[in-house]
Symmetry: C2
Subunit: 365 residues, 2 copies
Amino acid sequence: MKLADLPTPSLVLDRTILSRNLQVMANTLARLGVPLRPHMKTAKSIDVARMALQDQPGGITVSTLAEAEYFAAHGITDILYAVGITPQKLDQVAKLNAAGADIIVITDDPDTASAIAAHPAPPRALIEVDSGEERGGVLPEDDLLPELARRLGPTLRGIMTHAGHSYSGRSVADMARIAEMERAACARAAGRLREAGYMVSIVSAGSSPTARHAENLAGITEMRAGVYMFGDLFQAEIETHGMDAIAVTVLTSVIGRRPGRVLVDAGGLALSKDRSTESAPHDYGFGLALDLAGTRAYGNAIVRRAYQEHGVIEMDPARPIDLPVGGRLRIAPNHTCMTAAAHDRYYVVDGDHEVIAIWPRINGW
Amino acid sequence: MKLADLPTPSLVLDRTILSRNLQVMANTLARLGVPLRPHMKTAKSIDVARMALQDQPGGITVSTLAEAEYFAAHGITDILYAVGITPQKLDQVAKLNAAGADIIVITDDPDTASAIAAHPAPPRALIEVDSGEERGGVLPEDDLLPELARRLGPTLRGIMTHAGHSYSGRSVADMARIAEMERAACARAAGRLREAGYMVSIVSAGSSPTARHAENLAGITEMRAGVYMFGDLFQAEIETHGMDAIAVTVLTSVIGRRPGRVLVDAGGLALSKDRSTESAPHDYGFGLALDLAGTRAYGNAIVRRAYQEHGVIEMDPARPIDLPVGGRLRIAPNHTCMTAAAHDRYYVVDGDHEVIAIWPRINGW
C-alpha cells in the first residue's frame, strides 16, 4: 500500500524522523545523566512507546486513565498519570493496579491527599509542584507542601512538576533558563521534604523544550516529554527542534480549486482548531502545506481557514500548488498532540511513499 | 446511572432540549413549505438521526464517507455527501451504493464532473453553487455552471449551496438577508440550467442560521442544517437560538483549585480548541461553566486556558464555583460540532441527573 492508495484525510507517521527525534532526546538526557519517562499523551501508541523506551528504565507518563489501561494491557506497568487525581478516580486506579499496573497519581489538594492515603488500595503518589507554569501544583515555599506530604503518608514517593511555561519561550536560551527554573523548584521542594524527614525517591520534571535544552538536571531523577517524538510547527518555532523533525503530517486530497487557493479535505477535525503558532514568530494558520513526499513546503502555502471537513489553503504565488482535484499533499500540524487525537491510527512510512505499518492509537477517556 | 457516576470528561446530551430544537426547526421549515435533509455531521448518531427525520422525507446529509457507510448500514439510504467529491472516492461511493445506499455527490470541478459521468456505477450528482461563502462552488453566473451540467450528463440531479457566510451575521435580520442571498443564488443557478434544458429536481440549500431565519424559500426543494439540533454558545451569540437551547455539554470534574480559578479535567481535547466566539459579541474562551444540572451558569465563569487534558476556569467573583476537587460541573461548548467529535458516545439525560441511554457516535473518516 502506498500513500496514494490511502483514504483521505489520514494521519501519516514517518518512522525515520521519529527514530531520529527519539535518538536526539535520548542522547541529550544521557549526557545529563537523567533517564526518560516518555509522555505517551502525544503518540498514544504502544508501537511508539516501545521505540521511545529503548535504553530507558521502562516507565511512562500518561494523560488519561484510558491510556493507562491500554499501556498496562500491553505490559507497561510503571505509569505516571500526570493529571491531578480526584478521589472518585481512585477506584479505577486501584482496579488497574490490581490487574498488574503500578500507577502513580499526583495531587496538590489536601483532601485528595487524605483520600489517597485512606483508600483501601492506595497507589503511589507524588506532590505536584508549580515551577512557574501557574496551572496546577503547589509552590515549593508553600506551607501546603509539607502538609500534603503529611497527609499522603506512606503513599508519598516524591514530587513532580511540568514546566509548561517553556511554551512561552522563543529561543534555546529561554528554554535553558526555564529548565533551570524547573530544576530549581524541584530541588527546593524535594529539599524541604527531605529536611522534614520524608523519603523523596522520585523527582520528576519535564516538557519537551526543557528536556531538550536543559544544561543541568542535578537533583532530577527523571524527565518527562512527549511532543518531541513527533514535533510540530509550534515546537519548530520555539526551537525545540528543526523543521525537518516533524514526523507526523495529515495526508489530504485537493477537493476544489480557486484562483490563489485550493480546498482540501482536511479541515478543523482532521487538523484540529489549534492555533498555537498564532503567537509564534511565524503564524502557520491551521498548518503548512507540504508535497506528497512530505519533504518540501509549497513555499508559504498555509491552511488559512478550517471548516469541519474543509481546509482552505492560500497558495504562495512563488510556488503554486499545481494539483488537480484528487491530487494529494500533506499538512504539517501546528500542534501534533491535538491533530493526532482526531485519528484512530497512524499510517507509517519510512521516508517513502510505501506504507509499512498501521499503528492504532488509544483516544478518548 | 447518574451524572455523578460517569467518568469525566464525558459528553452529555439533553434529549428534552434536543427534541425542542428539532421541533422549532421543523415548524419553521414547515411554515415555509420546505422539507429538511438534516445534516448529521454534528450529531453523527443514528439515534439522533431518527428523531431529526420525524415527519421529514427521510434523506440526510453527511460530511464523511464514514458517516455515509454508518447511516446506510442503519437503513438510511438517501444520503447527500456534502463535501466536494474526488474521482478517487467514486469507487467507495459506488461500493456503498451497491450495498443499498443511494449517495448523492457534489462537485464544482469539470474534470471531476467528467469522472462522475464516466464511472461504471455513477452516483447522482449536484453542482455546488457559491451563494456568497467563497469556499467551494461555482457562481450562478459563471460559464462553468452549464459546462458542469453538460459534463455530468444523466447523473445531474440539480444544485446545492451552503450559506456558510451566515456565520458572519450577528442578528436575525442579518440571517434573513443572507438566507435571501442563498435562495436567490439557487434560483438563478437552477433557472439557468432549466433554460438550457436540464432537469433540476433538487435545489438544496442551508445552514442552521439561514434555515432558522429565512423568510422565503421559494424555489428551494430542501434545506440542510445540523448544528441547530444541539446548539452552542456561538449559535446563541449569532441568534440562531437562545442560551436555553444548548443540548450538548461536557461533564467535567474539578481537579485543582487556586484563588480565582478552578482546574478541570476537560481541556483542549474534550472541549476542542475551537474559538468561534472570539469574534462574537461575547467571547466565551473555550466554554462556559454551568452547574451539574446544566441549567445555571456560574456567572461569567469561562474556560480561559485549554491544555490537552486541563481546562482553567476563571471564576466570576459574583458567583464562585464552590466545589471541592472531584466536584462536578458542565461546560457549554463554543462549537458543538468540534467538541462532540472528540467523544465516542453521548450520555443521554432528560433534563435530569439520570442517564437514560448511551448513544454511540461515528467519528473519523
